[in-house]
C-alpha cells in the first residue's frame, strides 16, 4: 500500500467517496460520544428533550391555535404543528452545531487525519436524536387524537431522505463558511431566529397571500415541512413550486461535496 503526499493534495472523487464511507463509523462514534457525554451530564437525560418538546408544543398551541386561532381545517392544531416543529428544530440545531463544529474539533483536526466532512456529518447524526424524539411524540399524539393513516405515509421515507439532504447541505455549507469567519455562529443564530417567521412552522403555507408565496418557494425548509404535512397528515398536495428551494439545496449538496473534496487536506491550515 504505497501513497504519495504532495502539495496539491488532490484526491479523486471515487477515492473521496470511499474514504468517507470508510470513516462512517468515525462519524457515528463522534455523534454517539457526544450524545453519551450530553446525556450523562444531566439526570433527566433523553426525557429532558421530550419535556422541552411538550412544553414548546403547549405554548404554540395556546398562542397560535387558541389565541390567534389559525385555521388548520379538520386537523387538530397540536398534530398539525408538530411536524413543522421537529423539522424546524432539526434545521436550527444543525445550523447551530455546524456553525462552530470545526472550531470545537480543532484539536482533533490538528492531530489526526480523517475526512474532515465527517465532523459536520456527525452533527447531522447528532441532530437526528431530537428529530426521532419529535417524530415518536408525533406518532403518539397522532393516535391519541384518533387520526387515521393514509397512503401518503408511504412517501415519508422519501421525504425523510429529502430532509436529510437539504439540511445536511445547509449544515455543510455553514461549517465551510465558518472556516473563514468567526462570526458565522452568530449570523447563523440570527438568521434561524428570523427565518422561522417566513417558514410555515406554526401556520399552513396556504394562508400566505399569492404575491408573497415566492418567499416560501425559495425556502427549502418550507418545502420539506409542507410535503411532510401532506405525507403525514393528508393535507392537499403542496404547490410544485416548493421544489425550487429543495432543488437549490440538492444542487448545493453536490457543490459542497466538491468544495470539501477540494479543500479536504487544507482545512487544518485554514483554521
Amino acid at each position: 500500500m504505497s501513497k504519495i503526499i504532495s502539495p496539491d493534495g488532490h484526491i479523486g472523487t471515487l477515492d473521496y467517496l470511499k474514504s468517507i464511507w470508510a470513516s462512517r463509523h468515525l462519524a457515528i462514534t463522534l455523534a454517539k460520544g457526544e450524545i453519551k457525554n450530553q446525556s450523562s451530564m444531566n439526570i433527566t437525560g433523553i426525557f429532558l428533550n421530550i419535556i422541552q418538546s411538550l412544553i414548546g408544543l403547549a405554548v404554540y398551541w395556546i398562542v397560535f391555535g387558541v389565541a390567534i386561532g389559525i385555521d388548520t381545517g379538520k386537523i387538530p392544531y397540536p398534530i398539525f404543528v408538530l411536524p413543522g416543529i421537529f423539522i424546524w428544530h432539526y434545521f436550527s440545531a444543525i445550523t447551530g452545531y455546524c456553525s462552530n463544529c470545526f472550531l470545537l474539533s480543532q484539536i482533533l483536526i490538528d492531530k489526526l487525519y480523517f475526512p474532515r466532512i465527517c465532523i459536520p456529518l456527525s452533527k447531522v447524526l447528532l441532530g437526528l436524536v431530537d428529530f426521532t424524539i419529535g417524530f415518536v411524540l408525533f406518532v403518539i399524539l397522532f393516535f391519541c387524537f384518533r387520526q387515521s393513516l393514509t397512503i401518503n405515509w408511504l412517501a415519508f421515507p422519501l421525504i425523510f431522505i429529502m430532509i436529510i439532504i437539504c439540511i445536511s447541505s445547509i449544515g455543510l455549507c455553514i461549517s465551510f463558511i465558518s472556516l473563514f469567519s468567526m462570526d458565522t455562529t452568530r449570523i447563523a443564530a440570527q438568521l434561524t431566529n428570523f427565518l422561522i417567521f417566513i417558514t410555515p412552522v406554526f401556520y399552513p403555507g396556504t394562508i400566505i397571500p399569492e404575491n408573497f408565496k415566492f418567499i416560501l418557494y425559495i425556502n427549502p425548509v418550507a418545502g420539506i415541512i409542507e410535503y411532510s404535512r401532506w405525507s403525514l397528515l393528508g393535507t392537499p398536495l403542496p404547490d410544485f413550486r416548493y421544489f425550487i428551494g429543495i432543488a437549490f439545496t440538492m444542487c448545493l449538496a453536490i457543490a459542497i461535496f466538491f468544495i470539501f473534496k477540494k479543500y479536504e487536506k487544507r482545512i487544518t491550515d485554514l483554521m
Binding site: E34, S40, K111
Partner: protein, 387 residues
Amino acid sequence: MTPETAISIRNLSKEYYRTEKASPFSRKMVKGTEFLAVNNISIDIRKGEVICITGHNGSGKSTLLKMIAEVTLPTSGEIEINGKVASILEIGIGFQPEISGYENIFLSGAMYGLKKSEIEAKIDSIIEMFGFPEFINTPVKYYSSGMYMRLAFSVIVNIDADIYLFDEVTSVGDTEFRTKVIREVSRLKEKNATILIVTHNPTLFSQISDRFLLFDKGRISVSESPKSLQEVEYSDDPLHINASKLMQIKELHSEGIDFDITNIKINIEGRLDNIDSIFANKIEFVTEIRYKLQDSMAMLLTICDITGNIITSASTELKAGNVESETIKFEMPKGYLRPAPMSIGFEILNSDNKPVISYHNVISIPYDNKNIMSGYLNMPIKITKGI
C-alpha cells in the same frame, strides 16, 4: 523508493505565515511574514527502523510528523509512504470526559480507524495494559492525568499499522509510564514496525533507536546510528567518536557558548566476549575538548538509565579562558555497574549547574528486557537467612 523503504521524503518544505493585526487598533488580522517550519529536507527511512527526532521547540519536528500523517500538506516536495500509518500526535484525543474508560476505549479506537470487533478482540489486553481494571467503568474525568495517559496509550499501541508516529508521548506520566512506553515501542520494533518518535528526551529512546535526527530551524542534521558498546565487543581497537559525529548529537541550550568535544576515545581494558561482561572491565573515556569561556563551567559525564534519569555522574571544572586543546580522561572502575540498558553522555553546566550543552547518548548499552530487573548498581548487599 525500494521495497525496503517505509518512508521516502524528497525536498520537503512547509511554509507558514505569522498572522498579525492590521494595526494596533484594528480587529482585522492580516498575513504577516512567512517562515519555513520545515526547510527542504530529504531522507529515506527503512522498514523496521526506529527514528528518534529531537530539537528545540519550533524546529519543525512535529510539522514533519503532521505532514507524514496527512494532517497538513507540504508546501513543496513529496512524501512517499509504503504501509499503513498510525499517528499518535496527541494522547487521549477524542476522549469524552463524562463517559467511562471502557466506553472511551471504543471511542478512541474508532478515531484511529479500529472497528468495534477489532477493539472487542483486544479489550482484555487494553485493560490489562491500562493497569487499573477497577476504574475501567469510572468516567475518565475522575482519572488522574497519569491514568488518563495510560488508558489512551493502551488503545494506541493496539492499533495494527506498519508505521507509527509518536509525538511527545513521554512528556507526561511517571517513570513507570515512561518505561511502559519504551517497552511497548520496543515490542512494536520487534514486529518490524517503522517508528518515528519526536521527543525532547532522546536519552529515553537511546537503547531502541536506530537513528537520531536533530532538527534545527526546519532542517535536519542526521546522525548515524547511536554508538553502541556492542561495536567494540570483538575488537581490540579503541572506539573513536570523531568531531563530526559529536557535532551531530550536540544540543545547544544557550547561545554564545563556544565549546566542542573534538574527539572521544573509549578504551576497554581487556577483550570483551559479550555485552554482559562490559562492566566487568575498566572503561576509560578520553575526551579531547576545545573551548573559549567567559566564566568557569563544569563538564559532566552522565550515565543514565532507560528513562533518562542519571544513575551516576562525574564532573570536572573547566576554567574560564581560551583553550585550544585539552584532554580529560574519565575512568570507570570495573564491577560497580551491572549490564543493563543505559546510555552515556556529557553535559556542560554553567555556574548555576544548568546544562548549556548536551551530548545525549554518546554511547549506549542496548535495551534488553532480561537485564532490566537486575538493576543498575552492583552493590554488595549482604543477605542472611535464618529460621
